[in-house]
Amino acid sequence: MLSSKSDLFLQPALIVSALVLGIGSLCLGQYPLALSDVFHQLIHFSHPEGMASQIVWSVRLPRVLIALLAGGALGLCGATLQGVFHNPLVDPHIIGVTSGSAFGGALAILLGLTPVMMMGSTFAFGLTALVLVYAIAALQGRENALILILSGIILSGFFAALVSLIQYQADTEETLPNIVFWLLGSFATANWHKVAMLAIPMTLVTALLFQLRWRINLLSLNDKDARALGVRVVPLRRTVLVCCAILVAAQVAVSGSIAWVGLVIPHLARLLVGVDHRRLLPASFWLGGCFMIVVDDLARTLTQAEIPLGIITALLGAPLFTFLLIRSSRKARQ
C-alpha cells in the first residue's frame, strides 16, 4: 500500500498536469497565433468574429477536450476491464466493441451516410457486439471471465473480417482511403457537437463506474471469493461491461478506433498509484487524457496535414509498454 500522503498528492497532481497540458496545447497549432493572443481570447470571450477567436474557441478547444475525454475514456475502460477479467493483457478491444464500432463506421462510409447517421451506426454496432458477446456466453450456459474474453475475441475477429470485406468492396481510389484514415483515428473534425456527443454519455457512465470503484476491486478477485464476500458477481460485471461498451462506442463514434491507449495507460497508472481501483480508475482517466492530448498535439503539428492518431499511439505506446515490462520484471527479480 502506498502511503496516504503521497496518494493525496498524486491525484490532484495528475488533474493539474492534464489541465496544464490542455491549456498548453491551445497554444500549439499550424495557424500562427501568439501566446498573448491565445490567452487574450481565453480570458475575453467578447468578439467571436475574429480569426483568432475562431481558432481558439471552435478549432483548438473542442479538439483538446475531445482528446482529453477520449484518452480518459480509453484509460478508464482499460483499467476497469483489466480488473474485471483478472488479466493485464486485456484492453478495450477485447470485448469486441471496438471492432463492432469500427464495422459500423466503415459501413457508414461505404454507404455514404451523413455524419450524424455515421455516429449512430458506429455506436449501435458497438453495442450490438456486446449483446452478441453475451449471447454467445449464454449459449454456452456459463458466464465467467474466460468465456466472456473468448466470446469477445471471437466477435473481434468476426467484425474485423467484416471490416476487411468492406475495405475489399470499397472503391480503391475513392472510398478506401476514407475508410483507412477513419479507422486509424483522428480528432481532425472535432467540434462542439462531438464534444457533447462524447461528454454526455461519458459523464453518466464515468460517474457510475466511479461509484462502483470499490466493488470493481472485489470483481478483480476470483468469482468464488467475490461471491463469498456477498457480491452478486454476474449483474455487477454486466453493469460494468455495459458501461465500458458505452464509453468505447462513444469514443469510436467521434474519433475512430484508437489502439494501445487502453492497454498501456492502466499499467502506467498502476505503477504510480498501485492496484486499488479506487485510485487506479481516476489515475487511469487523467493519465489517458494527458497521453492523448500529447498524441494529438503531435498529430496536428508535426506536418502541415494531419497524421492519423493510431500511428502515433502505436509508435509511442509500444516502446512505453516495453519499458514498463522491463521495469516491472527487474523489480520482481530484486
Binding site: 495557424y31 481558432i55 451523413t114 455524419p115 475513392e174 484514415f181 496535414a305
Partner: protein, 351 residues
Amino acid sequence: MQTIRSIALACATLFLAFSAHADRVITDQLGRQVTLPDHVDRVVVLQHQTLNLLVQLDADKDIVGVLKSWKKQLGPGFARFMPAITSLPMPGDLTQVNIESLLALHPQVVFVANYAPAEMIQQIQNAGIPVVAISLRKDAAGQQNKMNPTMKDEEQSYNEGLKQGIRLIADVVDRKTQGEALINYAFDARAKYNAPVSDIPDSKRVRVYMANPDLNTYGSGKYTGLMMKHAGALNVAAASVKGARQVSLEQVLQWDPQVIFVQDRYPQVVTQIMSDPNWQAVDAVKNHRVWLMPEYAKAWGYPMPEALAIGELWMAKKLYPEAYKNVDVDAVAQDYYQRFYRVNWQSDAKQ
C-alpha cells in the same frame, strides 16, 4: 443636419449591403449552393484532377495550397507544368485537412473531391471558407457523393460532367474563355480522332484489361471503360466489376485479354506481369502486347481533357495502327501541351 447625417448613414449602410451582395452563388457538382467572393485569387485545391485542370486553365498563379499526395497522383513530372508547386504548402489531402494549416493560408475557396468526407466539407465551411466539390460526373440526384454511382448513361454522365466541371472551375477562378477553349478543343479532337474506330461492332473490338498494381482494375462506371470504348476497345472487366476494385488472377485468366494497358504512374507493373509465370498464359502476354501508356493517356476513373483529346487517339492508334497511318500522335500531343500547359512537350524515349 441630423437628417442629412442619417440619410448619409443609410446610404452608407445600403452601399455596404450591396458590396456584400457582390458575392455570387454557384452550384457545385454535389448540388451544393456555394457563395463565393466576386474575385477569387487565393485557391486551395485538395483534388488532383482539379489541380490539373486549374493549370490547364492558366490559373496556377492563384493556387496557394495543394493536396499532399499530388506527386503520387499526378507524377513528379507534373512540376514541369507548374514549377512553383514544389514549394507550395500542403494543408491536407483528398480525405482529410488540417483546418489550422488551411486557415493560415487565408484561401477564398477550397476545391475538394466529391468523395471528401461530409464532415471535412462541413468543417471547412464552418470555418467560413467556401468549399466547391468537383466530381466531373453529372449524376442523378442523390448519387453525387456515391463512390460507384448508378448511371443510366455513362457516356452522357461523363461528357456533360466534364464540361460542367471545367465550366464550374473556370467560373470560380474567372477563366471562362480558357474554359470554353479547353472544352471545345478536347471534344472536337475526340470526335475527329474517334471516327475511324467508332463503327466497330462489340464482337470485333480488341479485349483490353487495365492493369493497376496488385490486380486492381477499373470496372464499369468509370471513365476508363469509356476511354477504351472510344478507342475501339472493350474493357474486359466492365461486364462483372463495378468501380475501382481488386480482382483475382483467375478472373483475368478467364477474360484472357488481347491487350493489357498499364498507366504511366505504375511503370513497374509492366515488368511484373511480363516476368510472372502465372500471367504467361494470357493472350496479351504471349503476344507481348502489355503496353505502358504515356502520361497524357490518363485512364483514370475521372475523365481529363488531355485523355479525351490525345489519350484516346494514342490508344486507338496502338490498337488499330492501320486506321491511323497518317496521324502523328506526338505532334497532336505537342500542340495540346503547348496550347494548354504552355510548355514544349517532348515524347519520352521509353514510348
